[in-house]
């Protein structure tokens, strides 16, 4: 996989993950172009399209589009299910995930994706393994975090 994008119906980019280095300028151009193409498509259309020299696989979940660019020989259907598996992972972690969860906890969305995919290839397909890794990390986090006052949080202390 070359890259994965999450964006809203309004064309706001919520998550971007690049598995092959390109310049920031080129990335922005690709995002803009691809969002335009995908958002213009009608609901019943097929989930795959040819774009530049890549294949794009996308699926819409509520207000969010999940969009993967893969190479010519890659398998479209399994990519579609890869998107679904990622959504399931988010759902399980956040408990009925919505766009806001991904906005406010963007770093978590990245961590979960990293546990699931690496270098554009699937690292583990077992939902349990991935979530176990994330939850372990959360435990570590809670252990070393001491409670703070709200004032301190706001930087007013």
């Amino acid at each position: 996989m070359r890259f994965m994008l999450l964006f809203s119906r309004q064309g706001k980019l919520r998550l971007q993950k690049w598995y092959l280095a390109s310049s920031e300028k080129e990335k922005k151009k690709m995002v803009r172009e691809l969002m335009q193409v995908v958002l213009a498509r009608k609901p019943k259309m097929c989930s795959f399209l040819e774009w530049r020299d890549l294949k794009v696989v996308y699926k819409r979940y509520a207000s969010l589009y999940f969009c993967c660019a893969i190479e010519g020989q890659d398998n479209e259907l399994i990519t579609l299910e890869l998107i679904h598996r990622y959504v399931e992972l988010l759902d399980k972690y956040f408990g009925s995930v919505c766009e806001l969860d991904i906005i406010f906890n963007f770093e978590k969305a990245y961590f979960i994706l990293d546990e699931f995919l690496m270098g554009g290839e699937i690292q583990d397909t077992s939902k349990k393994s991935v979530l176990k890794a994330i939850e372990q990390a959360d435990l570590l986090q809670e252990e070393d975090e001491s409670p703070r006052s709200v004032l301190e949080e706001m930087g007013l202390a």
Partner: protein
């Protein structure tokens, strides 16, 4: 603000994100961000040391700002500091920031690499995982250089945790993709292959991805993975849907792993071992059978996962292309999908069938679905699906159904989406030409194309129709009549005016007998379009008019009046004005005879690559231009060989090509870079072979040739400067280790060589073959030596007959004497006249210093004694280089012998090395030469050392021989 569900409470961050979301305008957002950036900057710069938590929070805010699309130019150092924190969550944010915002600042990279190194060595699996993720996310060359050696060790170490193994495998894969040169092959590769047997399916999945990527470039090294992959696959497909527990996805056992294993197998030809092969066939049959079973769940995820495996299995079946039974079954399965209610499946079935159409076993089976595909073209609501249907129709087209398919595509073109019109036009044009039995049908089709989609008919298409009409006299009268009729339409496309103008200018006389298309009517018809056309078209029409002056003397004055009018003679456009002036003058002063010669009918175009196919190929990429034979050829040249019969090492295999017979030299030599020159009778000369040595002799595609037919058809010589010497050294290198073969070939001429050498003398036979059916005139080959070369090389030859008949071959003998050692090669320049144009070709003649080698046998002791004697630094020449061809011992030996030296066995203590010895004979002196070639299989490199008594000889021989491996 929603409650943060888990983990930390970076409330400051949440507040900030909330603020941003509440901004009513872009300006407000930017203002808020700038405020925050100022705040963070002051915190980072402040005297008070920040605690880890604050650092984490601010770094996270910066990351958020960056992801919103704003530039971030500070904070990198703070992020790097977080990497060395002992707190997991701080480390994690640090790594995330680095991964997203890495910058090539070398000082930082050093610090980052240090932190990664510490974490990799920490033996804490969570930290190791973070470090590996960071390497994979950044994936830069610096990272590869620093860690590519270390990661394989982590991957195969016995005590590495499963999760770390998975990360290590994919991390290595990522580094290999960007910097394969930093990933050394070695002992670890065999241990990686055995990960396919691992108990942990997550490890197997990650390892399979890695192995697939590595095997594509190093097939030999990973050959054993085939049988392991087959048995793993077999265990998965035969397992019950619940056996694999968490690796079962909606009742499909391990679909991702199955797809990956099937993909890995596509790196190889069908397994040679009958048992493995049988087991694989069983697996594929099981997968096909399962597609027929009722679904275990109604969920789309179930059917998607199941079909993902099925499509990958079909890809493998097509890749092997060896089991007719499976191919036909695959085709039937796809046929069912063509009518499935899921758009996705219809799309994939059309796509997959395209490749199936190119297999001889399943081509017929694919054709049976023609009606369904045509229907898809008419009824699919999604343009991307219709596009696939067009592709498939194109792929399944052959002589039996061409008329139907072309008619349907033309039909569809009337309503087709603008985005794919040009491509359809190209496809129709290609099919119509390729499968035309009756050329009147071809002409009709192209004129229809122009009528329906004139704007999308590119120049290549209308050039092509003219080339064909000119080359086939059986269709000329029909073409003239048809364009004349088409031009009657009140509004016709400019492309039609171009084609019409050109064809009537050449063949208008063939219909002039009919009073309804008398010369004057033809002229008036064309001239009525003149003022609406663009400048290039008007220029073309002016040429048509002057041709009319020759064809129809009775309307000469009418035409002269037009040329004489102010709008022509004083036209603001220089090209039009010049044509008008010159044509008017020509028509006034030239005698009928001169006019007839100058404005003679165009000679046939040389048969050459179809420019249309070339264009389609450029547009779509070679893989997508489906042509039965070509696809097969392409697939066979896959890295690891598509079928058993496929030559793996292209450089050593001689494929008999038709051209070889012409010369009677036996098999023609081929370099791996240039596929066999095709000499098919079809007009669609092989477009996939980018033959390195092609000159375009007559460019019928160029505007000039068309716009001024008078020039091309007359005896006016277009004195082009000699083409640059053709791929000069490439050709020389082909002949360093051998003496016979084809030196050069284009559409007109083929040059073959046969030579022999003894001591300092040699004789070379050069064969010139005329590939066309037209005579070559003034045929003059000349040998050119620079002044320097003349003093070291003496060449003698006799001139050849200046006329070479079509299809004939002439021979020239060159006597060679080597006077002293030399560096360059002589140049063979050939000039001749073909169909009114002047041709000028130059190639280097492969007479190289090593041809004057005499082998010398000697024992190990002698060799090393002489080796030591030649230890003066000027006498030694060494070159270390990457292997350009597979490193095969036998081939290397053959090349060294072909080079001319003796191959000394059992001389070098290391049996993998090659040593050779010989004497270069020149008239003035003899030079002893020793050579040693040390291959390094792991690095795919060679080191070549030459020691001779003369510096220039060492240098030249080293140069020549280095290019051979």
């Amino acid at each position: 603000m929603p409650a943060v569900s888990k983990g930390d409470g970076m409330r400051g961050l949440a507040v900030f994100i909330s603020d941003i979301r509440n901004c009513k305008s872009k300006e407000a957002e930017i203002k808020r961000i700038n405020k925050e950036l100022a705040n963070i900057r002051s915190k980072f710069k402040g005297d008070k040391a920040l605690d880890g938590y604050s650092k984490k929070k601010y770094v996270c805010k910066l990351l958020f700002i960056f992801l919103l699309g704003h530039d971030i130019d500070f904070g990198h150092m703070e992020a790097v500091n977080l990497l060395s924190s002992n707190r997991y969550t701080e480390k994690q944010i640090g790594y995330l920031f680095i991964s997203v915002l890495v910058n090539s600042n070398s000082e930082l990279i050093r610090l980052i690499n240090n932190a990664i190194k510490n974490d990799l060595a920490s033996r804490n699996p969570t930290f190791m995982g973070l470090a590996l993720h960071c390497i994979a996310n950044v994936g830069s060359r610096e990272m590869a250089e620093a860690f590519a050696g270390e990661i394989p060790k982590i991957l195969v170490a016995g005590d590495t945790m499963d999760s770390v193994k998975q990360s290590a495998a994919l991390c290595l894969l990522r580094l290999y993709r960007t910097s394969p040169d930093f990933v050394p092959m070695g002992d670890w590769t065999s241990r990686v292959v055995h990960l396919l047997n691992d108990q942990h399916l997550g490890v197997v999945t990650a390892a399979t991805s890695l192995i697939t990527t590595l095997a594509q470039k190093n097939p030999e090294e990973f050959k054993t993975s085939v049988s392991l992959a087959v048995s793993r696959l077999s265990r998965i497909v035969t397992s019950a849907s619940t056996d694999l527990q968490d690796y079962t996805y909606y009742f499909v056992p391990a679909p991702w792993l199955s797809v990956k294993l099937l993909r890995l197998l596509q790196c190889y030809p069908p397994p040679e071992d009958a048992a493995v092969r049988g087991r694989l066939t069983e697996c594929l049959e099981t997968i096909l059978n399962k597609a027929q079973e009722p679904p275990k769940s109604k969920k789309v995820q179930h059917s998607n996962a199941k079909n993902a495996v099925l499509f990958e299995a079909i890809s493998l079946i097509i890749h092997h292309d060896s089991e007719p039974n499976l191919l036909v079954r695959a085709c039937n399965q796809l046929g069912q999908f063509l009518q499935h209610r899921e758009t996705n499946l219809r799309y994939l079935a059309l796509e997959s069938m395209c490749t199936l159409a190119s297999s001889e076993f399943s081509h017929e089976a694919v054709k049976t679905h023609i009606e369904t595909v045509i229907n898809a073209l008419k009824t699919e609501r999604d343009v991307s699906v219709r596009q696939r249907a067009v592709d498939l129709l194109y792929a399944m087209c052959d002589r039996s159904n061409a008329q139907q398919i072309v008619a349907e595509m033309l039909n569809y073109l009337e309503t087709a989406d603008y985005s794919i019109r040009e491509e359809i036009v190209l496809k129709v044009a290609i099919l119509a030409e390729k499968y035309a039995v009756d050329y009147t049908w071809y002409v009709d089709t192209i004129l229809n194309l122009i009528r329906i989609a004139g704007d999308y008919v590119s120049e290549e298409v209308w050039y092509r129709v003219i080339q064909i009409v000119i080359n086939r006299d059986d269709v000329q009268g029909y073409a003239a009549k048809t364009v004349f009729e088409a031009l009657q339409a009140p509004a016709c496309h400019e492309n039609l005016v171009k084609v019409g103008g050109y064809i009537l200018g050449e063949f208008g006389n063939l219909i002039a007998g009919d009073p309804r298309s008398s010369p004057l009517i033809q002229f008036n018809l064309l001239h009525s379009k003149f003022h609406l056309c663009s400048v290039p078209t008007r220029a073309l029409l002016l040429s048509t008019y002057i041709k009319f002056v020759n064809l129809f003397p009775e309307i000469k004055t009418t035409i002269q009046d037009v040329l004489r009018s102010d709008s022509q003679l004083k036209n603001a456009d220089v090209e039009l004005q010049q044509r008008a002036v010159e044509y008017l003058r020509l028509s006034t002063i030239a005698s009928t005879d001169i006019l007839a010669t100058v404005l003679e009918e165009m000679p046939p175009f040389p048969e050459r690559e179809s420019s249309i196919l070339a264009k389609l190929k450029k547009k779509k990429g070679p893989g997508t231009v489906t042509d039965l034979e070509e696809i097969k050829k392409e697939r066979n040249s896959d890295v690891n060989g598509g079928t058993e019969s496929t030559p793996v090492n292209a450089s050593t295999v001689s494929t008999p090509s038709p051209s070889a017979d012409l010369l009677g030299l036996g098999a023609a030599p081929l370099t791996s870079s240039s596929p066999p020159p095709s000499t098919t009778g079809s007009l669609l000369v092989d477009v996939f072979s980018d033959s390195a040595s092609v000159v375009a002799p007559l460019a019928p595609g160029s505007e000039d040739n068309f716009a001024s037919p008078d020039l091309a058809s007359s005896e006016v010589v277009s004195e082009e400067p000699a083409d640059t010497v053709h791929d000069a050294d490439e050709l020389i290198h082909k002949f360093v280790c051998k003496n016979n073969g084809v030196l050069f070939e284009n559409q007109l001429l083929q040059i073959g060589l046969k030579s022999e050498f003894r001591q300092n003398l040699g004789r070379m036979f050069i064969f010139y073959g005329n590939k066309t059916s037209t005579q070559f005139l003034n045929f003059t080959p000349t040998l050119i030596c620079s002044d320097e070369l003349q003093s070291s090389l003496n060449l003698q030859t006799k001139p050849v007959d200046p006329t070479v008949d079509g299809g004939a071959q002439v021979q020239q003998v060159v006597n060679i004497e080597c006077i002293s050692d030399f560096m360059e090669a002589p140049i063979l320049n050939i000039q001749f006249r073909y169909g009114g144009t002047f041709q000028n070709i130059s190639v280097k003649l492969p007479i190289t210093l090593n041809k004057f080698f005499q082998p010398t046998e000697m024992a190990s002791q002698d060799f090393f004694q002489r080796w030591k004697q030649l230890s003066n630094p000027q006498q030694e020449m060494q070159n270390i280089f990457k292997a350009k061809h597979p490193m095969d011992t036998e081939i290397t030996k053959a090349k060294i012998i072909g080079f001319g030296s003796a191959l000394l066995e059992e001389v070098d203590p290391n049996p993998a090395n090659f040593v050779g010895a010989g004497i270069i004979h020149t008239k003035t002196t003899q030079i002893g030469c020793l050579l040693r070639l040390e291959p390094n299989l792991q690095a795919q490199m060679y080191r070549l050392t030459l020691r001779t008594s003369k510096e220039t000889v060492s240098q030249r021989l080293c140069e020549l021989l280095s290019e051979q491996f």
